[in-house]
């Protein structure tokens, strides 16, 4: 993996962490990075990074809702609980699905693995 690839992967992982601000601070100390790359990451605007993380999460949520009608219904019925579950999912499972059906399958697999059920109506 080149230095550039390592930077891209570290930042992507930090963006989906439960606390992106803390994750980027940790990434800036990663021993695999050169001094220049550490300085570059340390200089990142933390607020801008957090906004980017929110937008990444929102885009993933939209992808999931488009692919999973039952989840869309869950969000409408109990937004607080659903948001809590989605945050946990987003921080636990790296986003590897580019289209709604894949995201829906990944979410269902995570629900099953964690023993979480979509509440019935």
């Amino acid at each position: 993996m080149t230095a550039g690839e390592t930077v891209q992967r570290l930042l992507a992982t930090a963006l989906t962490a439960a606390d992106p601000g803390a994750a980027i601070a940790t990434a800036a100390d990663d021993p695999r990075l050169s001094d220049d790359d550490r300085r570059m990451i340390a200089a990142i605007d933390r607020d801008g990074f957090r906004i980017s993380a929110m937008l990444v999460a929102r885009l993933r949520l939209e992808r999931l809702l488009h692919g999973h009608p039952a989840v869309d219904d869950w969000l409408a019925r109990d937004p607080e609980r659903f948001t809590e579950v989605f945050r946990h999912y987003h921080a636990s499972v790296l986003p590897e699905a580019f289209f709604p059906p894949e995201e829906a399958r990944a979410f269902d697999a995570w629900l099953s693995a964690t023993g979480t059920a979509i509440p019935s109506m």
């Binding site: 550039g4 963006l15 980017s52 590897e96």
Partner: protein
């Protein structure tokens, strides 16, 4: 005269409300090819219903179509994304056979780092490695559509000095048939958030490489989004074009000798009845400006 176009969004309300504007007031259309695909159970990428609708519309009114991709991820350095990119390029080729895109642009940045579906274009380090990778991505696209380019994306954080980005772009688009899509709201937004003069950024750009200009609007993030209470400008395409962006447009378009289109962008799910007149006026205003 430089044509003025509008984005076609895969949104029934958007298309219904703007039907007459789209048909009568736009000279060309811009589509995001990925929004016109659906994924089959075996993973294959197939056209969705809007693909046919947009193709029929363009043929009926005899207006050209340009493509502005949202997810090829031209700056991905890892080969972990290669298979996906190959699949997308094959789909883009099929789309080009149908739409005959006048040109194809995508966003500067990486939206699939290491093959992860971040979806949002994220900044890349402005290194020689990144330049080489993005140029290669453009060359791959160029085997399908002869005229290609990258847009100056909006980034909410930066890897390096954002005022070095124009030179980074210059190195990327220096090849034959490689162009720059200049998004003025992205410049305005980035300058506002990062605290630099948008004119300084524009003055450093290779303006002779600009093939298209984007005009759009956005909004400010709610203060409660960030623990700091800070509000950042968002490139959300959910409001009209701000006067500051019109002012940038007025100053820059004449300095782009190879400009071939000015596109008004608006996001799906953001158009209501009162917006229709605003959007029509924006198209007419842009056309009047480039006609002077």
């Amino acid at each position: 005269m430089i044509p003025v176009g509008i984005t076609l969004q895969p949104d029934v309300v958007y298309l219904d409300l703007l039907d007459q504007v789209i048909r009568n007031d736009a000279d060309y259309y811009e589509v995001a090819p990925e929004t016109l695909w659906r994924q089959a159970p075996d993973g294959a990428l197939l056209p969705n219903g809007f693909h046919r609708a947009f193709l029929d519309l363009a043929k009926e009114v005899r207006k050209p179509v340009v493509a502005h991709g949202v997810g090829l991820s031209v700056g991905t350095l890892s080969c972990a994304d290669d298979d996906r990119q190959q699949m997308w390029l094959a789909r883009i080729a099929a789309d080009h056979r149908a739409f005959r895109f006048a040109w194809y642009t995508d966003h500067l940045g990486v939206s699939a780092p290491g093959g992860l579906a971040m979806t949002l274009p994220l900044p890349v380090a402005m290194t020689g490695e990144s330049v080489a990778r993005i140029r290669q991505s453009l060359a791959n696209l160029q085997r399908i559509v002869p005229e290609v380019g990258v847009e100056n994306s909006v980034f909410y954080y930066h890897l390096g000095d954002p005022l070095e980005e124009p030179d980074f772009l210059r190195r990327i688009v220096s090849g034959p048939g490689h162009h720059l899509l200049l998004d003025l709201h992205n410049v305005f937004t980035t300058a506002h958030n990062a605290g630099f003069d948008p004119h300084e950024y524009i003055d450093r750009l290779p303006l002779d490489a600009v093939i298209e200009i984007h005009l759009s609007g956005g909004s400010d993030s709610p203060g409660e989004w960030l623990a700091s209470g800070r509000s950042l400008r968002l490139d959300s395409h959910d409001h009209g074009v701000p006067e500051a962006v019109w002012a940038l447009f007025d100053k820059v378009w004449r300095r782009c000798p190879n400009l071939r289109g000015v596109t008004l962008e608006r996001m799906e799910d953001t158009v209501t009845v009162p917006d229709v007149a605003v959007i029509r006026d924006e198209l007419l205003r842009a056309r009047a400006m480039v006609s002077r």
